[in-house]
Amino acid sequence: MKTRSKLIYPVLLIAAVAVPFFVESDYVMHTLIMSAIYALLTMGLNIITGFAGQLSLGHAAFFGVGAYASALLTLKMGMNFFLAMSCAAGMAWVMGVMLGFPALKLRGPYLVICTIGFVQIMHEVFLNWISLTRGPMGIVGIDYPPTLTLGSWTIDFSIPLNYYFLVLVFAVITFVIILSLLNSKLGRALKAIREDEIAAECAGINLTYYKLIAFSLGAVFAGIAGSLYAHYIGYISPDSFVLLESINILVMLVLGGMGTMIGPVIGAAGVTFLLEYLRFLAEFKLIFYGLVLMVVMVVAPGGFWGFITRLGFAPPGSKDR
């Protein structure tokens, strides 16, 4: 890792902390918050797809599980927000293990199809388990996390700026954890699996264990994002957690740079802002998406960040073979 790149992290952090103070409009604030939530989602997918090389289109399912779990636990059981979020993360973890199992036997396109099936099945569950999720009507009235009092400081989360920092805290913690993971036994094992499963196995890496870890870890971060999403928007419905959402997150990851640290963050923020500000593009939004995916994979498979730094997982074949 070049030293120049290492400087980016504190710079990015300072920017993330400072920017909201210069923001006047509620609209931009909202976009910032959504960017941060998507950054969490994308970082999670990066573990599964970027580091471990398991292409997954099931990520929206984990997002949904986190959102529904957190919403229901606080609304129906009066649980404390942070406890509910922890439970939601735990449930997402379990879901991650479940999706991880097919990954043990399937590769490439077979696996992708399986993950598509998974997200569609979960969508059906959200839609049809009416007694629990209220089906297509969704869940309304999800409250903000309760106001925190720390000494003489009170933090009211209904204020957008404060909510932003709440999400930012989780995003930063996630970032730091993944950074630690990258240069560790676990991180290297994931990358080895991505590069060559047979060589990885013969080097002592237990494929089952590490694939399941990749999926469940990625799922946990998505679950946390789901919880933060539900308590921010205040309303969730099954239609937010569909295949298209998974594709959304994949676009952010691909555009930003799979397998890099900064890539997911840039991708999430970039795409979120781009779409908000190119509202007039809304009609063409998905046409744009499609084109982007196609072009990037051929021209710069390492995404924006991979392209700039020549780091990260640029799939073999993107260089001259």
Partner: protein
Amino acid sequence: MEFFQHLSSGIVLGCIYTLFSLGLTLIYGILGLVNFAHGELYMLGAFLALFAVATIGMNYFFGMIFAVVMMAIIGIVIERLCFRPLRGMHDTSVIVSTIGLSVLLQNLAIYVFGADPQRLTTDLTEVMVRFFGLAFSLQRILIVVVTVMLILLLNYFSKNTKTGKAMRACSQDLTAAKVVGININRITLITCMVGSALAAIGGGLVAPLYLVSPVMGIKVVVKAFAVVIIGGLGNVPGAILGGFLVGISESIAAGMISSHMRDGVAFGILILVLLFKPEGIFTKRIQEKV
């Protein structure tokens, strides 16, 4: 009696799945890539037929020919612009790229044709034929007839023509094919043409039976993937057998057990296959060379 009605529906359904899956499996077998946009080719075929009949005023027969020709051309364009640059690339890049193509085509269709489902009416849907106490619309008979003809045609083509044999060679070993002088570019082009045309025929034949909408592709594509995996990726006879297996099972289960089972059957078979014989029911397992 009811059983035979369902069986015959199953055969028709099987034909549709087969037409669809043939293109998909051909493209995988020869180009080595899973075309996630295949559903959109099917959908575009249906829309082109609709366009020809409803807007231009052609009759159904010529409308179908129009659709097939146009889709073959679109297939060539896609091969050049999308597939060729992806050649030799990592699985992930290819999958993401074809997903992109799928999203692109779907939304282009929504933009051009509108999101609402539309109806394609032809004479054939109205006319019913009675056969041993069972009733079929001519359209359904047409589907079966065309499918059988195409299967026979493809079989003859792949065994008796130079191009057909070249295609089979490519699906077995691309490098060896290159070495014996087969023009890979030409073969991949033809494969895409044929694959797209097959999808178009499928779409055009089905259009009068169901509604035509930009999302009709996704509904079938998941089933088609199931069929292709069940038969074995790249395995042409497997796709045909798989198509009928799924179509018939689905119809019978939906008709005789419960209509809710409709999608479940295909998924059920798929899950069983993935668990026990992921290389496909009809394919021999190839031991990966270490």
